[in-house]
């Protein structure tokens, strides 16, 4: 790994994104609009206070999964990945470059969404708001890592998009947003225990409910999943292909 190449890769991914202002706008604005819609549906009440923070965890995961999986699939199919790997680029340079770039976007996204939720929509959280943003960024990194890994198993953009209902929606259903996890049937609760999004949503709920939230355990789990997925992703990056 070479820091020069990692940072150059991150900067390059951000430059590519800059040429696509519509995607940037959608990434940054849509989460806030959806939160506002939710606020409207529940009339800003107590349900909104419970669901709002969970959505702050889900958006960055979902959005970064989609953009990363498609962007890296393009690198695999267009020959740019092959070219980079025939140059001094290390596999980690490539993976971490993406993590740096989309982690930065996630930070901006989380700042905007959290500001809208707390400032405009009066979302009530007992814990500090910056922790909401921190959890959201770690969650985005989880999405990046999953997207990088999954792109190895798709050969078209259609296939990559189909991984969303397959891999993300079950996590969404079991993360405690619809039914608290401890009220799920025992088997489903056990499944939700091994899904990373559950821990991200738990962390958000903790920040919402507790003035002195203990979230580093959950963040550690999310980070552990991200590292494991990045390692698996690195294994799918091959210098020599058939």
């Amino acid at each position: 790994m070479t820091p020069r190449i990692t940072l150059a890769t991150g900067a390059r991914v951000l430059t590519q994104l800059r040429h696509d202002p519509r995607t940037i706008a959608l990434m940054l604005v849509v989460p806030s609009l959806l939160l506002a819609l939710l606020w409207w549906i529940y009339d800003g009440g107590i349900v909104f206070d419970r669901i709002g923070p969970a959505l702050l965890a889900i958006f960055p995961f979902l959005v970064m999964f989609l953009v990363t999986s498609i962007a890296t699939l393009r690198e695999r199919t267009s020959g740019t990945l092959e070219r980079l790997l025939s140059m001094p680029t290390g596999k980690l340079d490539f993976l971490l470059g993406y993590a740096v770039a989309f982690g930065t976007v996630a930070l901006v996204q989380a700042l905007i969404t959290a500001s809208v939720a707390i400032g405009l929509l009066d979302l009530d959280t007992a814990g500090p708001a910056w922790l909401l943003v921190a959890v959201a960024v770690f969650d985005a990194l989880l999405g990046v890592a999953l997207g990088l890994f999954v792109s190895a198993f798709a050969s078209t953009e259609f296939q990559v998009v189909q991984f969303m209902p397959a891999l993300i929606v079950p996590q969404f259903l079991l993360c405690g947003l619809l039914v608290p996890r401890d009220q799920l049937p025992a088997f489903l609760e056990a499944v939700s225990d091994v899904l990373p999004l559950s821990y991200a949503v738990d962390a958000m709920s903790e920040v919402q409910q507790s003035a002195d939230p203990a979230v580093w355990g959950q963040i550690g789990v999310v980070l552990g999943f991200s590292v494991a997925l990045l390692a698996l992703g690195a294994a799918t990056l091959r210098r020599r292909t058939p």
Binding site: I5, T15, Q16, S78, L84, S86
Partner: protein, 249 residues
Amino acid sequence: MMNYAADDGPPAITIRGLRVARGAQTVLDDFDLDVRRGSLTGLLGPSGSGKSTLMRAIVGVQRTAGGTVEVLGRPAGDRELRDRVGYVTQAPSVYADLTARQNLRYYARVLGAPISDVDRAIEQVDLESHADHLVGRMSGGQRSRVSLATALLGEPEVLVLDEPTVGLDPVLRVQLWELFHRLAADGVTLLVSSHVMDEAERCERLVLLRDGALLADDTLPALLARTGAADAEGAFLELIEKADSEVSS
């Protein structure tokens, strides 16, 4: 056929017994080749004959099933070779959503090449007027020149160029071949593939491929003398006929 002059030193590329299988098909089998340092070698053959596969093996991105490929005395794809061997894939591998200059700046940083190389490379492929255009809005020929410029960054000692002149207009093709000759004169080893036989005239040395087999490895004049043909295309057909009659007899 390989009686190179004694003062050439060791070859830049040495291939012995190379075997490559792609899918169910054996593309190259027991393949040998030497490429002299500082030479401009044309790799010619019809499409599907294995040119790209051979080049991928030389760059070290092709999974092989046997044999050895050495470049500059190291195994192909070795870490030490990654900024000494420039490679241009047949399909342009550049980012469509970046400008030509942004593409080159990125690759220059990856290679650790000075940023001034970017302008030099853009000039070498005659793209100054389009340097700040998005690659995605360029014509195929312009796009492949951006891809070619990438391989000129830094100071590669070996250039492996897969059909770099396909789809370009004749004037530009002549310019690029002049550029290739200048690079070879400076000591760079170039291996340039083409499925257009006309391009043979521009190479010092020709490697003719057919169905993964080496038909010839010689200079054009020697090839013409040997086959009695008037041009490279004729020589190629003559060699095919000879090879086929040897197989059937």
